[in-house]
Amino acid sequence: MSSAPSAITVQSVSKSFGRGDAAIRVLRDVSVDIGAREFFTLLGPSGCGKTTLLRLIAGFEDLDSGAILIEGARIDHLPPFQRPVNTVFQSYALFPHLTVAQNVAFALEMQNFSAAEVRRRAGEALEMVRMGAFAGRKPSELSGGQQQRVALARALAPRPKVLLLDEPLSALDLKLRKEMQIELKQLQAEAGITFVFVTHDQEEALTLSDRIAVMQGGRILQLDTPRAIYERPAHRFVADFIGEINLLDGQVAGPGKVRLDCGAEIAAGADQGTGARVTVAIRPERATLSQGGALPAEVTHAAYLGTATILQLRLANGAPFLLRAATANLPEIGAQVTLDLPPDALQVFAA
């Protein structure tokens, strides 16, 4: 990030649950800077610590060590109600005894605004998510997508410096989720505030984020733009978690050469010394069918997707290989083919 001040600074934060030998370390020395007005995503499988990090920022958990700052001021000792952040919960957590309008007005009333001001700003927030017509309804009378919008309006109404979103779209069906993704992005641009978004859905993360932190086992493995994370994963885990990828085990055979376990030798720039075990990764859309390619394989299955066809191949040692190919001139099932793996499309990880 450039000279813009950080919206959130997380400094070597650690957190364990439980005591003694039974303690589970959920976050291990995590540090991250989140820029102002950034759409920042914490991505990882369940149990990676992403939700715990979000709850630490919100103030629902106490950290064991480290510090959390918002716009340069430490907030980790403050109770949740004194922090300039608001949360959109996974289950929405709308107050069932209050109407939509009362839900959205809740935070404004807590800040002791005048009744007229509360009404005006709650109305604005509801209009922002196009739920003005539902102001008098109870949450139980709304659909999942509508509840989602109300939860957003409620969290945005007090104009927090940072909005925390805990897998807010995971309860919605696919179509609605796609719609809400676009709305979320627009809403963030409109409101002009920092979003910290937690998800386990890599596609959602790639679509929405300015930057993504991929987490595993309580650590941030890689922090970069969606494009960099997809195209240049820094870890085998990141490569495997984001999108589809072929992981081929092998051994460094010499400078710029890797002998795969299936017997083929391919050109790949590896930092590791000769004889080291490595994993070569390549996206299905980066490999190409070509006569005289370095990697022989047999076609086992083809799935037609319209714009492309996904071919399932089998290498000489039985390992599977996915290939995204143009739909023209496809080989038959059972055909022997050879693949070309361009060196710039390969990532080599130590095994």
């Binding site: 919100a58 629902f60 109770p79 949360t87 107050f95 809740f106 800040q111």
Partner: protein
């Protein structure tokens, strides 16, 4: 939905109606009738006497020798004491029961079941015995009394045989009836709502008043009815811990059917008690429909 014939419907509802009529309607009718009769010479009621409202006027006015009616506050003060004792018991039970119920719902599955068991354990012992137990706890040479007297600088503390002793006994007896309904309502409480309240700027007090109490309201109302109504009619606690000095309506009724052998007057007080309870229930029902209408 298929139409049921009126006969069939009567046949289905009939047994239930009959039970209600025989077991509730008839006894209440007899009680109301007795309350209008005179006192008998040998048994408690003179079945042949002409019905009148004399027993009801007696609650408020006393007939002087020359037949003029004088205002007599004795019975009214007992009635008033019953109402405020029951109201105070209910209020204290809400104050004590809500936090306990909340705490219980935050426990793990096994601990919750244990807590419910612990709360219901007193019911395994007879109410009379439990009230006598309080007699021992609060007696003058007891530990509590001596400690209180040692600490309290303004003269001797009397813990037994007064309104405070009755209140302690009533709260003790009826607290489980407040805790359990509130707990039942809170058993599936979504704690994220509390987090949401904090997140939106509510401190502990406002999270309590704006989120927890409104959501606990159905349980609080149910518990209040379960506590207020039996407290209003209770007599064991007042008899034992009040030492006969502080009477409640229940004691007065018992006295009329027992020692005084004045069944009609006892029946009249019972009818008044019943009317009071009906009034409270109707008040709650009215308030509830108003709340519903507001939504």
């Amino acid at each position: 939905m298929s139409a049921t014939s009126p006969f069939r419907r009567a046949g289905l509802v009939g047994p239930a109606l009959l039970v209600v009529l025989v077991l509730i309607g008839v006894p209440l009718g007899i009680m109301a009738w007795v309350s209008l009769l005179g006192r008998g010479a040998t048994i408690g009621v003179d079945w042949t006497s002409a019905p009148s409202f004399a027993n009801y006027t007696k609650l408020v006015w006393e007939e002087d020798f020359d037949g003029t009616l004088l205002f007599n506050p004795t019975y009214l003060s007992i009635l008033w004491r019953s109402v405020w004792q029951a109201a105070a018991t209910t209020a204290i039970c809400v104050g004590l029961g809500l936090p306990v119920a909340l705490w219980m719902s935050s426990l793990s599955r096994g601990a919750r079941d244990m807590a419910v068991l612990l709360i219901t354990i007193p019911f395994w012992t007879n109410l009379l015995v439990r009230n006598y137990a309080w007699l021992i706890i609060l007696r003058e040479d007891g530990l509590v009394s001596q400690t209180a007297n040692a600490i309290w600088p303004f003269g001797p503390v009397q813990l037994l045989y007064n309104d405070a002793a009755i209140l302690i006994g009533l709260v003790y007896s009826f607290l489980p009836f407040m805790i359990l309904p509130i707990y039942a309502g809170f058993e599936k409480f979504d704690w994220r709502l509390l987090e949401a309240a904090y997140d939106l700027g509510a401190n502990r007090r406002r999270a309590l008043t704006r989120v927890i109490v409104p959501l606990a309201m159905p349980g609080i109302i149910a518990g209040s009815m379960l506590v207020f109504i039996p407290s209003l009619g209770s007599f064991v606690t007042a008899a034992i811990l009040g030492g006969g000095k502080s009477m409640m309506m229940g004691n007065l009724i018992q006295l009329q059917f027992g020692q005084s052998r004045n069944w009609p007057f006892g029946a009249a007080i019972s009818v008044v008690l019943l009317a009071l309870m009906m009034l409270v229930l109707m008040g709650i029902a009215l308030w509830k429909t108003r709340q519903e209408a507001k939504r």
